[in-house]
Symmetry: C2
Subunit: 340 residues, 2 copies
DNA sequence: TTGAAAGCGCTACCAT
DNA sequence: ATGGTAGCGCTTTCAA
């Protein structure tokens, strides 16, 4: 069933059918009602979205570009909460949600970026080429957790949160402190970092957190050298366990671990207990994000709260009405609980 | 940048550019390489997806139709795990994922269903009209957690799992057993059910679970009447708390609760503890799904395992290659832990 | 191996 | 208030 077929069936022009759906003021109410009723009877449910979009350039679809592959985001509580916030607002706005990976290899010779009307870019895409293609569409874009010149952005106060966490840790411990970092470099491996390979601070929230940890260390007469900072590629149990094992094998054993996500902190906690260590007596563990599990675990995790759901809601509202908003930085705060 | 513009720029026909992207065998390798290189230079990243789809009817997008609004699915661990499985497979297949709500009101006069090439329908859509529109597209469809005539479906053994859970409970307790159900009727309210309003068993996994509970009760000389079955609208903390409060206020107090999701069981557990009850001594609590939290909480939740991630993977594989698969029912099994 | 041209389904302009 | 029609960007047949 196409618009043309309906027009023929009802003996009116295609323009009239189109108007019945898109511009009610262009025809009499009675004709419009008649047409809409007949369309229902004939099984025509409104203009084909692809064809309409070709003509108008609009689909009502909001693209959410993720930093990595799609599946990663459903494993990460933080990302899931963010998407929850986004989808709440899109639901109300009657917009659909297209998820797009941030890796170039996923776009084999098709310009999928033409489908959505607007974009939320959640974290710096792994391949910047993908971002460039997107920007060239001249559609509303909101970047989240990083900034892009001439575009609206939404960030949280990573430096402030991390600083508070580190200040708290350094004021409580006399021993060695280590960092379990997240995506600080391009490396896929888990291991100590090499500062020369760090991502740029403007593009990497992890880098911002690291700076805060280091500044705090300095303020407490301690140095957080490369030999005390581990990198992980994903905020997963596996990566966290690997890094924590290496870190806790250091001699002398660290007395505190600053983890860049709660997921990593949870893994570190498990490793510490397997080694027979008491938390926080033998080793303090502090996370980041404040995912629900941080509150539910025993012991509960000391961490930095960031408003993930709210971030999603706001990102969606910003991209739907860019003219009404300005770039923002949302606050974070320290949640002292049992592990630190 | 359009294909036409590129063609003009390079002094070849539009057909040749199109072939360079879609049918490499139709032109010389050298010309193709030249064209692809020039396209990159000119910032043309391949054919516009909307236009191509208008012509070919294919977009490389897989639609996942959800039973309800989008946001609900990001709050539900089960749904999130399912989507994780789906997206793993779609990642590998280089397909994109369009999330679509299952409520009619979200499709205001636009036939969005023309965009995806294939559909996974996760749970019976709240409004069947949406499903009908979808089916009329004659695209591959896989239904999950319900069946649809002439279409591939993927289910789990709800009856079997629920039966094992109930048999376990009835063999352990002499007192009153209540059910905290999930979407057993259309009602948005939390409260006791009226059996005459129950959904049809073929469309409702909850109904299947209820039948299993009731059959098990009968086998143990007990009757699970309407006054012992609560309905909730969403598998959320709030709904669970409300239902559990009412149920535990019964006189005599129930000694076991069969909950249709772990989320509801978690809420019931919290209510029981707030009332000063010991679990499982005073009241046994059994869930369904086996979400990660069920293992992590203290006490750990006795529940029925269903393979949510695997269900997602399989649904995606089925919809990508419908001819290679048949409808299936995946097994479930009882996980006895501390609460029951 | 390459090119010309029709047409996918629709909307927006301009006529009437 | 309604209709005629060009053209959005592309693919595909057919002809050269």
């Amino acid at each position: 069933m196409t618009l043309k077929a309906v027009a023929r069936e009802l003996n009116v022009s295609t323009a009239t059918i189109s108007n019945a759906f898109n511009r009610p003021d262009q025809l009499s109410a009675s004709l419009r009602d008649h047409i809409l009723l007949e369309c229902k009877r004939l099984g025509y449910h409104g203009p084909n979205a692809a064809a309409r979009s070709l003509r108008t350039g609009a689909t009502g679809i909001v693209g959410v570009m993720l930093a990595e592959r799609l599946s990663y985001n459903f494993r990460d509580s933080c990302a899931t909460e963010f998407l929850q916030g986004v989808s709440e607002v899109l639901d109300d706005a009657r917009a659909n949600l297209l998820l797009m990976p941030g890796r170039d290899e996923f776009y084999h010779e098709q310009s999928m970026e033409s489908i959505p009307d607007r974009y939320i870019v959640y974290g710096p895409p792994r391949d910047l080429s993908v971002l460039n293609r997107l920007v060239r569409q001249h559609k509303p874009v909101v970047t989240v957790d990083f900034t892009l010149e001439n575009h609206l952005s939404l960030n949280v106060d990573n430096y402030g949160g991390a600083r508070k966490a580190a200040d708290h840790v350094f004021s409580q411990t006399r021993g060695d402190v280590v960092v379990i970092g997240l995506r600080l470099t391009k490396s896929d491996d888990v291991g100590r970092i090499d500062s020369s390979e760090l991502f740029d601070a403007s593009m990497s929230i992890s880098r911002q957190r690291l700076e805060a940890y280091r500044d705090s260390a300095l303020a407490h007469n301690y140095t957080l050298g490369d030999d005390r900072v581990w990198n992980t590629h994903e905020s997963t149990w596996a990566d966290g366990v690997k890094a924590a094992r290496e870190a806790l094998a250091m001699n002398p054993r660290p007395t505190a671990m600053l983890c860049m996500s709660d997921q990593l902190a949870l893994a570190a906690l498990s490793v510490a207990r397997d080694m027979g260590l008491s938390v926080p007596e033998d080793v303090r563990i502090v996370g980041f994000d404040d995912i629900p599990e941080a509150r539910q675990m025993h012991p509960t995790i000391t961490t930095v709260y960031q408003p993930s759901i709210e971030k999603g809601r706001l990102a969606a509202m910003m991209v739907l009405n860019p003219e009404r908003y300005e770039s923002r930085v949302l606050p974070t705060h320290l949640q002292v609980r049992e592990t630190g």
